[in-house]
Assembly symmetry: C2
Amino acid sequence: MPELRKDPIIGRWVIIATDRAKRPDQFMGQPDKPFEPQESCPFCEGRESKTPPEIYAYRPKHTPANTPGWDLRVVPSIAPFLRIEGDIDRRGKGVYDVTNGIGAHEIIIETNQHIANMADLSAEQIAKVVTAYIARVSDLERDERFKYVLVFKNYGWQAGAGRIGHSRSQLIATPVNPKRVKEELAGARAYYDYHERCIFCDLVKQEICAKERVVLDIDGFIAIVPFAPRFPFEVWIMPKEHSCDFTSLAPLQRLELGKILKKTLLKLKIGLNDPPYNYVIHTAPFRRPKAGYWKSIDQDYHWHIEITPRLTRVAGFEWGTGFYICPILPEDAAKFLREVEA
Amino acid sequence: MPELRKDPIIGRWVIIATDRAKRPDQFMGQPDKPFEPQESCPFCEGRESKTPPEIYAYRPKHTPANTPGWDLRVVPSIAPFLRIEGDIDRRGKGVYDVTNGIGAHEIIIETNQHIANMADLSAEQIAKVVTAYIARVSDLERDERFKYVLVFKNYGWQAGAGRIGHSRSQLIATPVNPKRVKEELAGARAYYDYHERCIFCDLVKQEICAKERVVLDIDGFIAIVPFAPRFPFEVWIMPKEHSCDFTSLAPLQRLELGKILKKTLLKLKIGLNDPPYNYVIHTAPFRRPKAGYWKSIDQDYHWHIEITPRLTRVAGFEWGTGFYICPILPEDAAKFLREVEA
């Protein structure tokens, strides 16, 4: 019998298609478009002139900006979806609402090596990436025009990336709060109003106790296959201790996050034949009531990373309903990933 | 300068990436996986034994069920995502909600000819498809276990269809109201509460007056590119007169709908090199307060069809925010489609 499961945070129903369930090995081997050769890569060391000037870099003090010697660089997108210059101008057009496309769009070049998959970086290098995320998000928070920054990664053509095989992630700052984040905040708030507890904290406790959906449990972090995933082998990484704000991570925690992120991505790579994937970091928005205020988001929201391998196609039913159909039992996906040696 | 536009019904923001905008002809020519040869098609006339027994058919009275002579057939899905037998059993699992996967999953075989794209059926044949939708949805409404039926179509492999080149659509009845439909209902209700008018009616009037996003205006229906589309060349078909319920369409209106649907799909096929696409029908849910009740959905909701060609990939930013990035100005997409001879 198939099962309908509800995501407890945003209330999305997912069909767990047990009758049509596939074995984990049936998800493998769909080849993605190949990467372009390294010769044309604009993100390698020595090609600094191929990108806009760097905004942030991890480099020895004696090396000037935009020259070799760096370990990590952040540059504006060469083709940004939003523009950094200008004032917000919200206006109506009859029944419609418009605002001009003010925002920031930056590329985090995660390594000076031509390595495609973040899974192949060291945990220490990934910790530097996390530090770069925090530095950039904190800097953008000072810009009063922005309400949110989404940090995300597209790996592989099927996941929406270009064909450059150099590990990188992106961030986009927006002058409005995204719908998906607002839904999570509203769901977490409703739960807190009723229970006076953070729903994510309850979920972490239940998962640690049940074990069946846990992929990794390392230091202060846990990686689980969610109870009602949208996609097969979707994995969420969450801090075990309550925290609404990704940027509050201490240096030691950044290294712990680097370890669990590397290991999770490596399990996906080894177990599923290097699939295309996306990840997003969901953290509390900037302009929130600070602690001490009545019902602060700090108490009811919990930052986390959602990793979604792209192994299936999304069709009319999903677009039309917001329902998803997951063709593998989440518990089986977790067991499979747990057992992959990485 | 890019523009942020808000969908007035569900509040989703869309980035209109004017700086990275493509010309309409740049969306063409991405080849989809080819269809399988006709020999293996289970939906052709004479192969009735290859499908489960028919639930509904358009056939002369003297022809027995599941034999040749039909013009259109509806059969249960051979691999249904939900099961028709059983009672709804809603239960909790700690913080999680589960229900067993009760529902219906049916295939509407739209023609006895081996024609792949609905665009190539006659308007009269499409009117029969509409009649079949109405008959099946009305029948399923009598089943008290179901709250909603989504009618949808996947055309082409990239749109989530299999590789059988025989025009068909699907319906799935669910025991819960889908999130996406609830969002539309809530958005339409909020607008009605404030204005005491249907938001879709206001939108239709504004579009007819502005003209720039109208693709087709035929009899009682209008086809427009929405103001804040998720996808390039997305088209919505709406009745000009207020109606919340798709199944209330009179026979003459079904033919009018057949005409505008055929012409819209043909414009997409000719103008964009036969792209994969999805469509969904959004209509009011079954168990609603009927007219005469306080604030009936009948007054504030408006059924419509959303057609989404699959020409772009959805990446981390979209999954993470619920934002979409539309790489063509909706007004340019509408102009392009208006000018395609079909």
